[in-house]
Each structure stands twice: as C-alpha cells, then as structure tokens.
Symmetry: D2
Subunit: 351 residues, 4 copies
C-alpha cells in the first residue's frame, strides 16, 4: 500500500517546531503509518525534548528539537515549514536544490504576485522566481498539480474554509462574482502560540470581536484562488472575528445567485462527490465547528434565503488540521504517491 | 430628581421571575433608586425565596416568589413581563384596564400584523386590538411615544443590536434598502434558562454554529422596524449564530452605499449625539462584546471596505441588559418621567 | 496479531448509544483494527442514524440505532453497557447466559455489597448473585482477573483518577490509610448528555463549585478498591467539583507519610513501570487535564510538601476515555486476548 | 452621610493603572459616591486615555494616565498601589511623609518578617522599618486597626478566601492547627494582565492544573495571619490550581475537629454576624464562584464529613473584588470614616 515501502522508510522533517501547527504536524505524523518524522527544528529550544514543550506527546514522541541544520533536513523527502512568515523563503531555495520537497505552512509562497506579497506582508520577496513553481495546496482544487509539485504553498486557515464553501458557486458561475461576503469566526489558536495580550484567556474568553476589518492578509489569498475560477472580477468583503474557543473556523458565506433556479445543493454535492475530506451536509443543516475538532474534515451546508436569490453557505473546519497541519499532510500524501487519507482518518473529538 | 417622590414610593412588579431576563430585572431594580420592586411572580416556585433560585441575590433581595395574582400586580405602577411568548397577551388586557403600565419583554406585542405574528409564532393573537396601542420600546427610535405609552413591546436582543447599527444608514437613505445582511453572534444566555440539550456546556462550549438560517423570529421584527425609516423595500438576510460565551451579541452588518461620498462615521456620530447608551466608537475600532458585559450600552463602529461602497457596521450589546432587562428599565424610566439613565449606569465588568 | 482473526471478525455491540460514553465508544471502536462494531442500541432513537445524533461521525460510522433486541446482542462477543444506572443489571444475566462477555460502564456491578448498592443508589440489586462474578475493570490493579472475566464493572471516572494516584501509596503502606483526601475537579461532560439546568453553559461556564460534599456515590467505590490493598481501615474525604471545561478530571490527593524517608517518586515510577497508559511525570511536574484530552492516558505527579511528611499527588485523566470508554476498550482488549493498547494509541488533542 | 463632605471632595489616586486590579479600582471608584478618582498613573502609557486601554470605561471615565509624579499623588487623601511587587516599597515612604494614606495591593508590606519577604520574593526589603506600621487589610480580622492605619497591606486573593473560611475554626480552637489543607482554584485573571504563554486562552481554557505545589508566595501570608489566632503552630498545605474561568477563587478547606460536638455552622454564623460582606450559607450549600462575580462578597459553606471529625469549608470570592480592589476600597472607606459598604453594593453578575 505504501509507495516507497520497498525503498525503505520515508523520512520527513519539520522546521519551526514550537507553534501550534507544528504540534499538530507532530501529533498527526506520529501516528502516520507511511512516513517517519525524523527531525523537528527549533533554534531556541534545540536540545530540549519535544515532549517537554508539548506534554501531550510524552511517551509517544521521543524526538529532541534540533537546530535548523540544512544537512539533516536535506536527508528528508519532505520538509514542512511551520515557521513565521518570512522564514521559509530564506531556506527553501537551498532545500529544493537538494531535491527535498517542501510544504510551506506559512504565507511565503501563497501570493503569486511579489508586489502583492510586499504590500500585504511588509517585506520584499527574496525569491520571486520560485513563486511560479509553488502550487497552492488545496487538493480539492489542485490535486493533480500537487502530486507533481516540489513546493507547496499550504493555504491559510480562513482561505481553506472560505474557498471550499465558495468554489462550487463561483466556478459554476452560479453567483455574482462581485457580491461575495465572507463573515468568518475563528478560535484563538489561529493567533498562534505567542504571548500576546489580546490572546490571554482573561481578554479573549467570554467575548467576541471582529478584527482586521480594514484589511486582512488572507483576503488577497482568497481572491487570487477564487479569481482562477471566475468569469467576472471577484469582489469579496472578508471580516474575521475572534471567537472564544480554542479551535475551529466557521465561515458564513453570502452570495447572490444569477439564476434562482440553480440547484446549489446538488451542485455542491456533485462538486465534492468522492472527496474524502469534504462533507456536504443535507439541506437545512447547520454544521458545528466541534464536529470537525481534531479532524481533517470540512463540513458544508447550503441555504437559500431571502426569497430565493440569496445564498448562505456555512463551512466549518478545524483551523489547525484542515486549515493547516492536516491539509499539509494531505498534500504530502499526494506528493509521495501515498493514499491521500493516510494518517488523516481521526474522528473529531466531541464533546 | 425623582418624579413621584413626593407622592411616595413607586412600586413595580415582574411576572415570570425565574428566567435570565427576570434575574437581570431584579438585579437592576434592586439597585434602582427611583422604584421599589414589590412583587415577582412565578407560578411553580411560589413561596420560594427569589435568592434561593438566584444565590447571587442573597443578602440583597428578600422577596419571595408570588403566584401571579392580578390583585397584587394591579397595585404596581409598572409591570414587566419576563414570560415565555404567549403568556403576556393573556394577562395584559386586564392589567391595562387596571391602569397599570406594562413593559412586555416577550414577543407578544412586537409585530403589528396579527397574521405575521401567527405565522412566525404559531399561535393566533388573542388581543389584536391591543397591537396598535403597543409602542416598540427602542428609545433611540421612539423616545417620545414611549413616554406616553401604556404598553411597551420591548425589543428582542438581536433586533436591538441590528437596529441600532442600521438605523442611521437606513433612515438617512445612505444604503440600498434591499441589500442588507446581519450576521449575528449571540451568547448562550439568549436561549434562556431552560434545560435544553443544545444549551449544555458540553454541547455549546468550544464550538460555534449558525442556527435558524431558513428563518428566525427576529427577522420580521427587524424588518418591520427598519421599514418605518426606509424609502425602498427592506430586504434583509439575517443569520444568527450561537457563540460559546454567556452574554453578548455581536452584530456584523453589511450594506451597500448609494453614494460613496457619504460620511457614515459622521452620520452615525450625529444620529446618536447625546444618546446616553449608544457609543459610536472612533474610526477603525472593533468593539468587543465584553466591553458592554452587564451594562446597558451599545457600542458601534463603522467601517468602509471593498474600495469604498461596502459598509460594515459592528454593533455590540449585552443581550440581557440593553437587549432585554436594561432596555426595559430604560423604557420604564421614560414612562415614569424619571431620569432615563436612573439605575442603569453600571460599568461593564471587564475582564 | 489479532486473536480471533483466523476465526473471522469479532463483533461487539453497545447498549445505550446516545450518551457521551457511548459516543466515545463508537469513536474509538470505529478506528479499532481488531473488532467490528455491529450494533448500537437506543430505544427511543431506533431507526435513526447514529451519525445524525452525533454529526462528528458522519462519513465514518453508518450504523443505525437498533432497538435493544437480545438476539442481535447475543451474536456479539462483547457487549458494552453505556446505560444509566439500573439498566444493565436487568439485561446482563441473559446475555451472560448466551455466552456474551459484558463490560458495564454503569455502576450496577461496582459495589460488591448489595446493601451498599441499595444505600447509595436507592434501589435493591436484582441479581446480587452476579456481584461476586464481576471483576472491577482497573487493569493496573486487576489485569489478570480481567483477562478471564465474563463481566467487567468498568470503574467510575473519579475512582479511576483517584485510585491510580493513591494505589502505590496505599498498597506499599507508605501513608496513613485513615488520613486520605481526594479533592477532585471534573469537566461537565461527567454529568452526561442530559438536559439539566445546572449543566447549561450559561450556568456552568466561567464558574466553579463543589457538589455532593455530604456524600457522592463514587466514595464507596473508591474506598472498596483501596481497602483491598490497605493494612488499616481506609478513611477518605472525597470532594468533587464541577469545573468549567468539557472533559478532564484533575484529582488532587493528600496523604500523610508514615516514614518521611520513603522515596515516593521512585515507588510510583516502579509501580507503573511498563504500564502503557500511566505516565509518572518527573519530580516537580504539574500535569494539565488537556495533556490527556481524548487519550487513554493517566498522568501522575508526586509532590512532598509541608516539611516532608505531607504528600500531594496530582492525577489527571480524560473522564470519557481513561475514565470510561477507553478503559472499557482496554478491558475488552484484555478479555479478547488482543494487544492491550489496540485502538487506544490516540495522542491527546492539544491545544 | 459622607464624612468629609462638608470639607469638600475627597481625592484618591491609583499608582500602576494598567492591570486588572487597577481596572477594577477604576470601575468601583467611578461609581463611588464618597470620593473622586483624581489621578491614575502608568509610566509607559502616560498621556493615553484610561478608556483607550480599557474600552469598557468609555463614556464613564475621562481620565488620562499620568506619569507617577509624587506631587499629584501627594494631593490625594488615599493612594492605591496596584503595582507589581517591589514598586510600592520604593514610593510609599515619601507618600506617607506627605500625610497621604496608602492601600498597597501588592505584596510589599504583607509579611512582617523582612527575612521571610526576601526568601519568598527574592529581593531585600528596602524599608523594613515600615513593616510594623502596616496593617493587614482584612476588615473581618482587623477592622479597628484599619480605621487608624496609615498604610494598609491589602491581602492577596488566595489569603482572603482561605482566611475568611478558616479564621472561625482556628481562632475558636475548634480544629487542629497543624492539620490544615487549602485546595484552591483560581480564575486566570489572578495571573494579571501580562502577556504570558501559560495564560493564553489556547493554553488555559478547557483545562485545569495545579501549580506552585512546592511553594507559593501566598502560603507564608496565610500562615502569618492564621498564627495570630492559633494556640498551636499552624501547619498548612496550600495547593493553588488554575481553573478555566476569568474571575473567581474557590477555596476548599480541610480540617480536623478537636471536639466532634462543636457546632461549626453556628460558630461561623456567629463569627460573621453583621459582617456586610461575608455570607455564611445554610447547611448543605455549595457556593458557586459566579454567585460573587463582580461583587465584594465572600460566601462560605461548612460541611461535616467522614463520620463527623473532618470539616470541609467552601469559600468563594471574586479574586479581583473581595480578593483585591473591592477589599481595598472597603479598607479606604474604613480609613476615611465613610460607611464601610459605600460604593461596594454591586450585585454579582449572573449568569
């Protein structure tokens, strides 16, 4: 069943091992039957046991954080970058030259246009020549390209939830491209494992607020991906909210139908037929974020409201799994010719 | 300062005393310097101390739940109904005849059209002749009528948050009336103090979901109130969500401007100048629900996005205070000729 | 690797399928490589898809709730009872006669003394003759007896956390048997999937309280299990608390050493050496409940305080896994001669 | 009613205005009818509006943070220190000389023994001569001394909850002084408004853990206060826990009775008769932390367990109110000869 088994174990590595997406990568890779997690790097924590920083891994993961040495990484077949924006782009070129394939969970290779990158991320892109090489790692959109890719730009968490909800509507031309709204609610783990005042439990729990209304970095990423499928110009209003929960994204998507007779429920079901990780729920459903907690699943429900022309699509994911680490492993599976669902069949934890 | 002081104490009563809005009425009235809470009724709990059901009132409230006897209620100047829908409308007619003034926190008198009431609430209205008498108790909209009213239909929690955010835009004709969206997030206390599976902490915490997308009872209430101010026909998509917090509503409101040159920030600031309980925040702000927790305040922020024609208004309230009990007391103050803010100046509890 | 594989698939069943422990049994059994979940019964929901009640199982579990028909259950090798107290004891005798082996997650067979059962559970025991047959299913205490058992009394959640923490101290005679205190904090899922006012999120979140101080049903169960190992008479003060979290038990255990020179850390480490699901943490550690969320692990830390004679043991489990469904499957594995850890190696979900 | 009214307004000030206890001081003082909050200092935020840092104060507090200038503080009758440990002791001597009275909410003046201070806080005490002057500000213990005090050491949050629960038992000699246990659970606001990894919502919510088991700074403070009342030597085991809630301390206190015939319920009720802020609940009660959320109340319940000799006392407070800012204002009221409850009669916010 395992591609490469005859050729021995497949080694993989993680750069930037102390954040939440890295912890999820480690959790999922520790139980992955097709690869071996060989190295997890963390500059400041080099020498410390991974399970000392993440006690839930005690007894299951005995790796020690390594310094980010290129030599060890070069011996991996796939390397994941779970680093802050701006780091992968300095290390990826050399790794690619060593023949290593890269899945970058940061934003470094998501935007095709280096000028757009510079505008939204506040730094020039050091290797714009690599941008055309990068494949946007949304398997439901780019599965075949991902199989052949050497460099994957793993989608952001909001983009994953929004795109999976809107793609069927946009690529079928069923809705006005210039009238899209994405009202998104995220759990606090989306802010990362960083000591920031606004992420304190005493600040963020038992409360809800929008943020980044004037402009959020995930907006150009969503628009770029949608535009590929759209006839007209995509105009999207994107409002993220911080919700008092640990994991989960709930995207509430609003669009206006062009032909009120279109069967959107059927269209979505058809678009995702056979997709292992997209669950189009029956009419009338309201997916809960907890129904995907810890799992690589996106659940979608489609509603017609307001006399019929208005569509509301509800889309939920776990931001750390389908929105980050799970999708990264799904991409890795595709790149390695493994079964796409390998190591990713965990059922959500509920309650 | 107190109207009526010379004429002695002003007695008020509550019908239906065991829910969350009743508990808030008791909390706020216990500290209200202008009235005396004389009676709190609860059929099943009659004879039990109020502070036994609500231990936070121990030492501060020594009332005992009464049976809902008309005679005692008739001795009150104002009676609040904190009953489930369908109850107030059976008791209010007699009370009004006794000269008592009524603030009904249920939905019984909110919809002017008895047919609409029957359609949305699944029961015929027994006293449709009283509907024209009822004043919709949103002081920022109907202050003068409230002063004279004998019967107040206290607004729902979602309608309060949505209306305060949209009224300036709609009544000024600044936005398209037929392109409104209200994406609302509510804490779980909005579901009331009822033992329901979906409201269990093990079900509702650490998760978020939409509900009632096909149709929610607060939709016709919002549309009715907005329509009064609108030139064109109001079309509103309203999607409520259950957020994992106790109190708070966050309404994220989307609209399309008619003239991109309109100064919406100034317009909102002007509309609410002098309003004691509406805080129009400075440009760029993102109000948090916790910033109004336990207080009668609505905070609003106005954002222009998407190149300028799209507006996003953020509006937050405490669903149990400005969205229920606080607003009811604000209405009472107006009806009794008291200072509008009397007993309502609590600062929000943060953190 | 699988016992019984040669003889075909091993079928198992669940009686009482709509509670949280049942949902966890389904989640864990759906991924268990050694058995097949054949039937889940639920009288009121018979005919409904399991995944309709528990949407996190959509796409992974296609069973439909069955009525509790003895014939189907009799075809299972092992049947789990996830029923309220008082149900298993009416159905177990017939099942045992059919040769089915039973793991009862309720309290029906936990207390050896039928009089104690009647006193604590308020009903006479209908089959006291089966009580001597029942093995208390704490593998770390009774592994060999469990292998041979036909009827397992699966331990309560509090008893599991308390016993794993105290057994090394008590059976080694290191602490005074009559001076034990267990201060326990549980998440709300411990109260079950029942619509009860006190379990509402609006009641239980952002708060903490003790309950059952005058007497809790888990007390005699803990004392009975400890007494087996103790020289003197066990006297235990047990105070459970409801903590505002979904899952998890944190037991803080206080004892007084007999000889201050005893190496308790070493003693605990030695006692649990080789145990697959007990993690004795290094000196100075403070285990978090989330470090075992969703996993079958118990983490323990041992502290000496107050000049040396006082011991504080911290013990954490997931009440629904090691405290219920996970331990039940661990027992099943032992009964069936399977690898003890089969299907139970999920890593905790953190954050 | 107001002492000093005839002599004009009483000005008070706060040093260190950006933490949670400062925010609570501001909230409570803004509604206090007997004093005027004149100055709030914050070195780094000087010039910023207080309501910009704490948006819940918008519209109610128009102060701007000042630099900590001694001249302005010297014009206040009372100055509160809400500073980190180590700051008050450098500024207090000069203020006292100016005739200002000081309530220090930090730990600087709590321990009488400068050597103990140095051992627990890791710094020498710069003004040990002031220590004998400082009165420990627990009004239920030291009311008369507080009235005359120039310098109040405001008790820590844990000590307040523990002392109010244990004082009746210890000072009456009803329990063994050397067998006390305090198992305490605190909300996360107790850790202060500091960006620390362990206080992130993604780290601290939906989980519970003990901390500081080997030794916590509140232990010597509790022992010192209890020792004053005890015949024998106090031995106390103190284990604090971080609970996933914002506010609240629940102290579960264990003791062993000397004479099993003592009526502890009566003794506690008698001890606190007339106390405005201590509520001895009826037998069998289990106080919830939320029942005091935002209020200055301590609720206590007394239980006899384990055959009668063991006592369990449950004591709950809001750590930021009775455990900090509320108690500080209670002390201020006493010092100024005002009504002790002035400005402190807020009812808890529930739900």
């Amino acid at each position: 069943m395992l591609a490469g088994r005859g050729r021995g174990v497949i080694d993989v590595g993680i750069v930037g091992g102390t954040g939440y997406t890295a912890a999820e990568l480690v959790r999922l890779l520790a139980g992955h039957p097709g690869v071996r997690l060989r190295v997890v790097t963390a500059r400041a924590e080099a020498g410390t046991a991974v399970a000392e920083v993440f006690p839930h891994l005690r007894g299951r993961v005995d790796l020690v954080f390594s310094p980010p040495t290129p030599e060890v990484l070069a011996e991996c077949r796939v390397v994941f970058f779970a680093t802050p924006n701006g780091t992968a782009m300095t290390l990826v070129p050399a790794l690619l030259e060593s023949g290593v394939r890269v899945v970058d969970l940061s934003a470094d290779f998501r935007l095709r246009d280096p000028a757009a990158f510079e505008r939204w991320y506040g730094m020039p892109h050091p290797c714009p020549d690599l941008l055309p090489l990068a494949v946007y790692g949304l398997p439901e959109q780019n599965r075949e390209a991902i199989r052949e890719a050497r460099l994957i730009a793993n989608p952001g968490c909001y983009p994953t939830a929004v795109l999976l909800g809107l793609i069927p509507l946009v690529e079928s031309g069923s809705v006005r491209a210039d009238g899209l709204i994405a009202d998104c609610k995220s759990g606090v783990s989306g802010a990362g494992r960083k000591a920031a005042l606004g992420s304190l439990m005493a600040e963020a729990s038992d409360s809800l607020r929008a943020y980044g209304v004037p402009g959020h970095r995930h907006l150009p990423e969503i628009v770029q991906a949608l535009q590929e499928h759209a006839a007209g110009r995509i105009e999207l209003v994107f409002v993220p909210h911080l919700a008092p929960m640990i994991r989960g994204i709930h995207a509430t998507l609003y669009a206006e139908m062009i032909d009120a007779a279109t069967d959107l429920q059927g269209l979505c079901a058809e678009r995702y037929r056979g997709e292992p990780f997209v669950d189009v729920m029956p009419p009338g459903a309201h997916p809960e974020t907890r129904s995907v907690r810890g799992s690589n699943v996106c659940r979608i429900a489609v509603h017609r409201v307001g006399g019929g022309r208005r569509v509301v699509v509800l889309s939920v994911i776990d931001n750390l799994v389908k929105g980050a680490a799970g999708q990264a492993i799904q991409n890795m599976n595709l790149m390695l010719g493994l079964e796409e669902t390998l190591g990713l069949t965990q059922i959500a934890l509920l309650p």
